[in-house]
Amino acid sequence: MTETQITEFKPRFMDWTAARVFAMKNLKIAMRYPANLLIWGIFPILWLTPYILMMYAIGGGSSSINFTELSGFNDFITFALIAWFVYQYVDASIWSIGNNFRWEQFSGTLEPLFVTPVPRISILLGAAFSDTLQTTISAFVMLGISTTLFGVSYSLTMIGPILLFLITMVFALYGLGFMVAGLILVFKDPSVLTQFIDNMIFVISPINYPLKVLPTSVRYASYIIPSTFAIIVIRQLAINGTIDIFLYLIYYIGLLLVLAFFWVVGIACFRYAERWTKQRGHMGGF
């Protein structure tokens, strides 16, 4: 690097080249452990099956009158599996994107990374891109195995609208990931914090049960989670193959608002955490 390059360097809000390079670096590492993609497709099945078996035992089959009245769907296995598929992206945003700098810290590369003239958000976004790709593979492995195991199927006629919602949700979740990354910079030990956030979101999300089961105040909180709108709409499209266009648009606008909210709050939260950590000299501390 020449002196001119250094003196004329102006910090940018986003460096897409850095994001791409960082994504490629993470993907190269991930490709060294291909079995992980399979393992992360299988573990969720071990976690979702107890819910399905419990509901089966309580309902005496894969449906119940009460469940149909509350959810509008006949079969809770079909109802739950597609939501678990979507939830894999939430898990990834919390565990992978949120914890990304922690992994760099363990590798001893966090401080060198932070002295590069690149916006931190670009680095996080790069990590997010590579995690999204890995999660997509694992989530499809999960969906493929679980639909075969439980003998359910979904409609593919509305794949376009489903993809639109899924991609928008993934971008909204990046904002959540930035927020978690900021929290982890401050609190360091990510295990408890990450588990706590993950479990809280899981409880208030309509994965195994419809939102109507939740208390009213909790139901409102659920709509702040980017995945809630996506789970509701994708489930409707994947099971029934149709949705009221007006409802679709309303939910999509809702998702866009959540996206804007999480990006603004997530970036602000991360920048504040970075400044706070730097001022105290805690960046490399464990």
Partner: protein, 290 residues
Amino acid sequence: MSENSEIFQRMIHRKGVWAELRAANALAIKQWKVELSYPLSVLWFILMPFLWFIPMLFAGSAVAGGAQSEAFFDLAGTTDWISYVAIGMAFSGLTMSLFWGTGLALRREQNVGTLETLMTTPVSRSTLVWGSMLHNLQHGGLGVIMQLVVSTLLFGVTLNAWGILPALLVIALAIIGFQGVVLTLVCIVLIAKQGWMIVEFVSSSLMLVAPISYPIIVLPSVLQSLSVASPLTWSVDLFRSFLMYGFNAPGVSFALVMLVVLDVIYFTFGLLLFRATEAYVRKKGALSQF
């Protein structure tokens, strides 16, 4: 420390069960001190049992529409599915604490650089595992108490007070069999190093085939056979039977015999494997490798 000093002589000549118990207790206290120094860990410890149970409660309510289910009676012998699931989940919290906390205990020591130091102390190697087990028993046990008390107060779970003592006996018996599982997990972690995936797979699989939130009759026949061979199945079944029906719980004699038989098999296997693995790891000089 000089070899002639009193402390050194006392330390080097220590022996017997009492000495090992004191060492195990010291390890348990040390782990409490570490955990309590992280406020978020304390908060997680309090909330964790409920964050696992509440989604089950919501899912069950969505299907049943109330606290009773006739369909559940046909499979589990009780209509009170909430008590069934709450007690099962409370026991699963204890199991998770034992499997995860103890299974990865030596790995944690390795990460903080104290494993070799611990291995050179005149303490039985298995006491290192027993000490962690003791801590996780206290940790998980407190979680069970909290979850059952709150479930009784908030969710209408009914417990039979006469069943508390026999339920404690079940925990004592369960620990023996679980120790066999945990010792096996420790061996895997010592050899594979990053063994958390194995711990996750083994614990999740054992939980899946155990009657924690559903009777095993809903499982495919292959998984039912596996379930019968797991000490967790009989432990959770006995624990719940005593807490729901007291001394006169149906079918407990056979379940007790099965648990004792499996305890002997699992514990013997785990102990032999642990001794062999420890000798192997030492011979390879891989104790402190990451």
